[in-house]
């Protein structure tokens, strides 16, 4: 039998045949690794999870016309879209505004891609339903109150088209919109309906974009659009992006701090257990030294045991940590978490390193055991 094989046999046997003590140590490492891997998973998933949450608060980037032109063209908007990472885009809703009248009272009509508007403004509360086809409109609460309209009511919309000719068209109210904001003074309909009435189809005043990305990424997207699509000026909605960045940074710092504390606690727990193991095995260590074991051999054996514990605990931690992170994510964010493959080597390495560090003091104590204790019959 080779020396290395005997070393492995001795180390493994030592762990297996003293299961109860080692189980406690393994539990300490595994719990530490579980919390560590779970928290790192959450740490990396927070921007995605919270980003999704922040998207509920509306657009974080708007596109407006550059220079002299006050409006955008549909073609111009299309040329800007490739600069958004497809996976991060929650919605891109173009808006066109026209002054209209109902019963001679002035209002503002907004034509938009209603499906995209739903995505960029998930916080809109619609009493009734969203418009499903031509001739249907979503009216703001303020409008509904002014002219006493309810879902299902019809009304005639009048105005002047791009050529200066008057138009009049009947619409039915599909729903009444409550936002608590200026949107309640608008009448929302599809871009096609508005273009058909007011002419100049394809004209867009502003594009609201909701992108699940950090402020830095949004700035990068804006820079690319600015340099490649000169007709369009992208603007970050600062109040959304900055508060999002601040909250994310604070949450990540919190998770980071908790992770460090957990690592320290794990280290203390493993060190305590290993110290107890060393104390229990003083006689065995003394015997080995009496048999001629050098201090380095004793250190190797205890470190070997510690590292096996670290490795096993780390493996358990990877699996249990994902379950832990998944549970937290489902309960807090109501969304499944994404598994980070790099966590397998990272948790293993951290677990082995923490266990190794925690073993240093106990191992030094082990190396200092006096071999003469085996003759003293202590």
């Amino acid at each position: 039998m080779k020396k290395q094989s005997f070393y492995v046999k001795m180390t493994v046997n030592s762990l297996i045949r003293r299961r109860s003590r080692m189980f406690v140590a393994l539990l300490a490492v595994a719990i530490g690794a579980t919390v560590l891997s779970g928290l790192i998973t959450i740490y990396y998933d927070i921007p995605r999870q919270m980003g999704q949450e922040f998207r509920s608060y509306g657009a974080n980037l708007i596109l407006v016309s550059s220079g002299g032109e006050s409006t955008l063209s549909a073609a111009g908007v299309e040329s800007a879209k490739p600069y958004f990472p497809p996976a991060s885009v929650v919605g891109i809703a173009p808006y066109r505004y026209e002054a209209v009248k109902i019963n001679e009272q002035p209002f503002m009509a907004a034509g938009t891609d209603l499906e995209e508007a739903k995505k960029t403004s998930p916080y809109w509360l619609v009493n009734g339903r969203w418009p499903a086809g031509a001739g249907e409109a979503l009216i703001g609460q303020e409008v509904a109150d002014t002219i006493r309209l309810l879902p299902g009511s019809t009304f005639a919309l009048t105005g002047t088209d791009a050529d200066g000719a008057g138009f009049s068209r009947d619409f039915s109210v599909s729903g009444v919109l409550q936002t608590g904001g200026t949107e309640e003074a608008f009448i929302f309909m599809s871009l096609a309906d508005l273009g058909e009435m007011a002419g100049d189809s394809g004209r867009i005043d502003i594009v609201e974009c909701s992108v699940s990305a950090s402020e830095a990424s949004l700035n990068q997207i804006a820079a690319e659009i600015t340099s490649h699509v000169p007709d369009i000026t992208p603007r970050l909605v600062k109040r959304v992006t900055q508060s999002e960045g601040t909250v994310l940074a604070k949450l990540q710092s919190l998770v980071y701090l908790v992770t460090v504390v957990v690592l320290l606690l794990t280290m203390i727990c493993v060190a305590t257990t290993m110290m107890a193991v060393v104390a229990e095995r003083r006689k065995e260590i003394g015997l080995k030294k009496a048999l001629g074991a050098a201090n380095s051999a004793i250190v190797r054996e205890f470190l070997g045991e510690g590292l096996i514990l670290g490795g096993l605990g780390g493996l358990l931690g990877v699996a249990l940590g994902f379950v832990f992170a998944q549970t937290v994510s489902m309960n807090v964010f109501n969304r499944p978490i994404t598994f980070q493959p790099f966590l397998i080597p990272a948790t293993l390495a951290a677990s082995v390193a923490v266990t190794g560090l925690a073993c240093l003091l106990p191992v030094r104590n082990a190396a200092n055991v006096d071999p003469a204790i085996v003759l003293r019959g202590e």
Binding site: K2, K3, F6, R17, L291, A294, N295, L375
Partner: protein, 230 residues
């Protein structure tokens, strides 16, 4: 010159003189017994001869080398290469089988060799118990494993601390028989014992009292096979 020479050694712990001016020579192939009441300095003497402690004064010459000034690291190497230890409490490693316990001594010495370790167990009549763990062995069997472990690296000196102290009469007889055979084969043996019957097996008995050699008894009729008397 003997294989082991203790030249005027003393060991002082604070204000306690555990050993005082001990002078003793042990020849190659000799079987020596050390007796004495508790606190007489037997264990201290064993620790010094077994390279687990150093004298406060005097010199210990083992195989021509003064080991009393050696570093702890060198003492470990000397103990590994030249000394085989037999303990009253056997001190087997609980998570290793009998065979692996013997191989552990080989592992720390040079290279584990299963065949050779089995042979050593066969010499003490325990080949068929090789795969048993210490908890599955009787006290006598554990002591025989301990002896096999002490012999495995062919030490020049076997130190036995109360080798029969924890054994019944039958097992005491078996262990003494093994020691006799070892002595016949030329091993040098030092046995610390309280038991006059065990001491009688040796060629000489050194009696310690209060850290001094009180007397040395030359056994005129050592046990069967104990070799020529000096």
């Amino acid at each position: 010159m003997g294989m082991l020479e203790l030249i005027d050694i003393s060991k002082i712990y604070g204000s306690v003189n555990a050993l005082r001016n001990i002078g003793l020579t042990v020849d190659q192939g000799e079987w020596l017994a050390i007796m004495g009441p508790s606190g007489s300095g037997k264990t201290t003497l064993m620790n010094i001869v077994g390279c687990m402690d150093k004298p406060s004064q005097g010199a210990v010459i083992l195989d021509g080398v003064n080991i009393s000034k050696e570093s702890a690291k060198n003492l470990t190497a000397i103990r590994r290469d030249k000394i085989g230890l037999i303990f009253q409490q056997f001190h087997l490693i609980s998570y290793l089988t009998a065979l692996e316990n013997v191989m552990a001594a080989q592992y720390y010495h040079s290279m584990p060799d299963e065949g050779e370790a089995l042979e050593a167990l066969a010499r003490v009549g325990l080949k068929d118990r090789a795969k048993h763990f210490p908890s599955q062995l009787s006290g006598g069997e554990q002591q025989r494993v301990c002896i096999a472990r002490a012999l495995i690296n062919y030490p020049m000196l076997i130190l036995a601390d109360e080798p029969t102290g924890n054994l019944d009469e039958a097992n005491e007889g078996i262990v003494l028989e093994i020691l006799r055979k070892l002595h016949q084969d030329g091993s040098t043996i030092i046995v610390v014992t309280h038991d006059p019957e065990v001491a009688e097996q040796a060629q000489r008995t050194v009696v310690l009292e209060h850290g001094r050699i009180a007397r040395i008894i030359r056994n005129t009729s050592p046990g069967p096979g104990a070799g020529p008397s000096l």
